[in-house]
Subunit: 124 residues, 2 copies
Amino acid sequence: MTSVPHISDAEWEVMKVLWAKTPCTANEVIEALADQTDWKPKTIRTLLNRLALKQAISYSQENKVYAYFPLVSEDECVKSETTSFLKRIYGGAFKPLLVNFLKEDHLSQEDIQELKNILDDKTK
Amino acid sequence: MTSVPHISDAEWEVMKVLWAKTPCTANEVIEALADQTDWKPKTIRTLLNRLALKQAISYSQENKVYAYFPLVSEDECVKSETTSFLKRIYGGAFKPLLVNFLKEDHLSQEDIQELKNILDDKTK
DNA sequence: GTGAATGTATTACAGCTGTAATCCAAATAA
DNA sequence: TTATTTGGATTACAGCTGTAATACATTCAC
């Protein structure tokens, strides 16, 4: 089974666009990222190229213009990144992450209640 | 307020050693990492140097040999990495991460119960 | 048909990372 | 005292990343 290629920070933004709406032309990606970033169009084309090189995406040449689409799913990538992040920072254990987050008070009472509901479902 | 410098994967391993027992000589760090990694001593010295350069650690010259110690706390670093990870992958939201993890069945029933207890405490 | 625009391909370049090796000075052994 | 060892400082070098610019080819407007 093939593991997903490593996707860098900047590349990740491009992937999110393609995961949200696929396929996309380069220009569509550029437009989608215009609000969130200050990247020049050439920069985004470079990122598309690199993603194609590392086989995270591919493209077909529809009516003269490339239409890019992901080769790896968001779920796969999220899972892979999360796993390696947890391993790096928390030694692979998920609980300390939650504990840390609760300590930091990043969650509202509503969030906490919702998490409890999720956990309840899981215990059913 | 100063933010923590970015600590790379390999550097993180060194920091963990220093957080666990501080101060440490280079040789102590090298020995501590001998089981977990295949790194040559020179490699670890390089990492110590880089960490000192980016002011994540410093050292004092005790009896002819450097004794290294962290300048940033594990808590700070963990928090900073976690925040930027969440922002990158999950758009900053913590809940999807938990949901994802539960989906993947990475947690035992005991884990789930423990998380619920933590959340209960938080709600009290 | 020729110049301008547009999309694609190639090239650029510095900083960070992984992974060391080499050089040098001081201490130690002989 | 001289050769060896050892620790620290400097240098190496390629691959990845961020951030594009330039070169080239095709198409479109005149």
